[in-house]
Amino acid sequence: MTTASVRQRSPAPDHAGSGAAKSAAPLVRHLSWQTRLKRDRSLLLMVSPTIVLLVVFCYVPMLGNIIAWQDYSPYVGFVHSPFVGWDAFVRVFNNPAFVHAVVNTLTITTFQLVFFFPIPIALALLLNSVVTPRLRTLVQSIVYLPHFFSWVLVVTLFQQIFGGAGLISQTVRQNGGSGFDLMTNPSTFLLLITGQSVWKEAGWGIIIFLAAIATVSPELYEAAAMDGAGKWRRMWHITLPAIRPVVILLLILQLGNMLSVGFEQLILQRDSVGPGVSEVIDTYVYFQGVVAGDWSFATAAGLLKGAISLVLVLGANKLAHMLGESGIYQKA
C-alpha cells in the first residue's frame, strides 16, 4: 500500500525479474506452454473482457486511421473507399485555418505554461508552511474540490460570475459603472481560460509537490536552523531542491503535451467567443470531421497531431532520462 510500489511502473513491462519471482523462476521456466496455459486459464479469463474492450475501442480505431490516406465516404465504408495517398495531408498543410489552429494551440499552451505552472508550486510551499494539521487538511480538501467538477460546470460558474449578466458585472452596473462580459471578449480570452484552468486544477496540482516536500527529513531543516538559516534560506536550500526533480519532470511532460489543450473547455466557449481565438487543433478536427463531414481530412489532421505529440512525449521522456530523472511512468 505504499506509494513506492506505484512508482515501480516502468515503460518496459519487465516485472518477472523482481523480488520473490526470481527464486521461483527456474522452477516455472521448464513447464511447457501448454501446462502454463492450462494452469493460468482462470487468470487469462479474468483479463479477457478488458482485452476485448481495448481491442474494439482502441485498436480498431487505430487501424481506422488509414482513412487519412483514402477518399473516405461513410456510405462506401473504409474497406471499399479508394486510396488516394497523401492527398489529405497535403490539404491539411496547405490549409490556413489549420495553421491558425496550431498557432492558437501553441499560444494557449505556452501562456498556461508560464502563468499556470508556477501556481501549484507556490501554493504547495504556502500550504506546507501551515503547521496546524487540521487547518492544513481542511484547506487541502477545499482546494482539491474543483478538480472533480465537470468543465460544463466550471465554464457555467465562470459565466455566472464574470459573464455579461454575471455577479461582478451586475455589481459594477449597480454602482454606476458600465458592465462587461469576459466570456465573449476575444482579447481577454487567454486570461479567462487560464483563470478557469487555475481555478479547476491548481489545487489538485499541489498534491504531487506536497508529496515531494513530505519526503524531506525534518532533521535537515533543524540542522539548517541550528546553523542559522532563516525560513527563506531553508526553503531555498532544502525544500526547493527536494521538489526540483518533480518540477523538471512535470515541465518536460508539459512540453510533450504542447499540442493538447483542454478540448472540452474550449469547445464549450467556442460559440460565445468565436473561433478566432478559441479554435485549437482538436476543435478544428471535430468541426472538419463530425460537423462538416470531411472525414479523411479531419483524420489526417488528427493523426498529424497525434504523431507529433507522440514524438514530443517520447522525446521529453528521453530528455528526462538524460537529465537523470526517472521517465514518464516513474514520476516523482
Binding site: M1, T3, Q8, R9, H15, A21, A24, A25, R36, L37, D40, S42, L43, M46, V47, P49, T50, L53, L54, V56, F57, C58, V60, M62, L63, G64, N65, I67, G77, V131, T132, Q140, S141, I142, P146, F148, S150, V152, L153, T156, Q160, I161, G166, L167, Q174, G203, I207, I208, Y221, K231, E264, I267, L268, D271, Y286, W295, G302, L303, G306, V313
Partner: protein, 316 residues
C-alpha cells in the same frame, strides 16, 4: 533567537507574548505578525474563491425568483428561501430524466469498469503467468497511442451505438487504472498468496478472499475516479447521443444553463419572470444537481488523497 525558543510559561509575565503553535518545532522561528497575516490572507482568498461561487449558486437556487430579480442576478445575501426550484425540476420533465440517465450511466459504468479493472489487474499480477508480458504490452500501447476522435466516432457509429448509452459506458474502461491496481496487487507479500495456493485456493478465491480485502483503498479511489469521469463526461454525449430526449445531465446543463436555451415545460422561458420560481434559481438548481453527487462522495474518498494513496494515479 534564544528569546524565541524560551517557553512562554517561563517568560516574564510582563512581556505580552503570542502563544506558540504547539505544532511548530522549537527551532523554527515564530513568524512575524505581518507574515502570518499575509499567509492567512492568501489562504483565505484561495479558499473563498472556491467556496464563495458555490455558496452563491446554492443560495440562488434556494431563493425565489423575485429575490434573484431584486439582487439583479446571483443572490449573495439570504432573503426569501424556497425549495420550489428543486420540486419543479425534479417533478418529471427534461431535468429529472437527464439526472436519472446520468445516475444510471455512472452506476453501471462504475460497477462494470471497476469489476473489469480489478479482474484484469489480478490476471496480470501473478509472476510468470502465461503471456502476461505480451498482454501488458497490449495495455501499454493504448496509453501511448490515442486512436483519434474521428476513427473512434466512425467505429461507434458503424457499431450502431449512436444514441446508445453503451457508447458512453464501454470505452470508459482504461488500461491506466488496470496498471495502477495491478501495481498495488503486486506489492502484496507473495508468501501470503503462495500459502493460500498451497492450501488449495484457486485464483478466484485468492482474489476474493485475500487480495480484495487488502486493497480496499486503491479500489475505492479508482472507482471514484471512474465514477467522476462518467458523471462529468460531456463531449462523448455530444458526439454519440443525438436524441436530446436521451441527454445526460451535463448536456442539459450546457444547453439550458450555459447557452440559456428555453427549458420547455418549466413555466416559461428561463430568465423571464413568470411569477413562479423560474429563471436563474431554476438554472442554479440544475447546477447544484450536477455538483451534488460529487459533494456527497467526496468526504469519503478525500482522506485517501491527503494520505497520498493515489499518488501514482496522478497523470502529469
Amino acid at each position: 533567537m534564544t528569546s524565541l525558543i524560551t517557553n512562554s510559561a517561563i517568560a516574564s509575565p510582563t512581556i505580552k507574548r503570542r502563544r506558540r503553535n504547539p505544532n511548530r518545532a522549537a527551532w523554527e522561528g515564530q513568524p512575524t505578525r505581518s507574515a502570518a497575516a499575509m499567509k492567512f490572507g492568501i489562504l483565505s482568498v484561495v479558499v473563498l474563491s472556491v467556496l464563495f461561487p458555490l455558496y452563491t449558486v446554492v443560495l440562488t437556487s434556494l431563493s425565489t425568483h423575485a429575490e434573484s430579480v431584486r439582487a439583479g442576478g446571483l443572490v449573495t445575501v439570504p432573503g426569501e428561501l424556497t425549495l420550489k426550484a428543486y420540486t419543479e425540476i425534479l417533478s418529471g420533465g427534461i431535468v429529472t430524466r437527464a439526472t436519472l440517465v446520468s445516475v444510471g450511466i455512472t452506476v453501471v459504468g462504475t460497477v462494470l469498469s471497476t469489476v473489469l479493472t480489478v479482474l484484469a489487474a489480478y490476471g496480470l499480477s501473478r509472476p510468470n503467468s502465461f503471456g502476461h508480458r505480451k498482454i501488458l504490452f497490449v495495455f501499454l500501447i493504448t496509453m501511448f497511442f490515442g486512436a483519434g476522435m474521428i476513427p473512434t466516432y466512425l467505429l461507434i457509429s458503424s457499431l450502431g451505438l449512436i444514441n446508445s448509452y453503451w457508447a458512453l459506458i464501454l470505452p470508459g474502461v482504461s488500461a491506466f487504472n488496470v496498471l495502477i491496481v495491478r501495481n498495488f496487487f503486486m506489492a502484496i507479500e507473495p508468501a501470503i498468496l503462495d500459502a493460500a495456493k498451497i492450501d488449495g485456493a484457486g485464483d478466484w478465491r485468492i482474489l476474493g478472499k485475500i487480495v480484495l480485502p487488502m486493497s480496499r483503498a486503491v479500489i475505492a479511489v479508482v472507482s471514484l475516479f471512474s465514477a467522476v469521469g462518467y458523471w462529468n463526461a460531456f463531449f462523448n454525449a455530444v458526439l454519440y447521443i443525438n436524441d436530446n430526449a436521451k441527454w445526460p445531465l451535463q448536456l442539459v446543463l450546457r444547453s439550458y444553463v450555459l447557452q440559456g436555451v428555453t427549458l420547455p415545460g418549466s413555466g416559461g422561458p428561463v430568465g423571464v419572470d413568470t411569477g413562479t420560481v423560474s429563471g436563474l434559481p431554476l438554472q442554479m438548481a440544475i447546477m447544484v444537481l450536477a455538483i451534488l453527487p460529487i459533494l456527497m462522495v467526496y468526504p469519503f474518498v478525500q482522506k485517501h488523497f491527503t494520505k497520498g494513496v493515489i499518488f501514482g494515479a496522478i497523470k502529469g
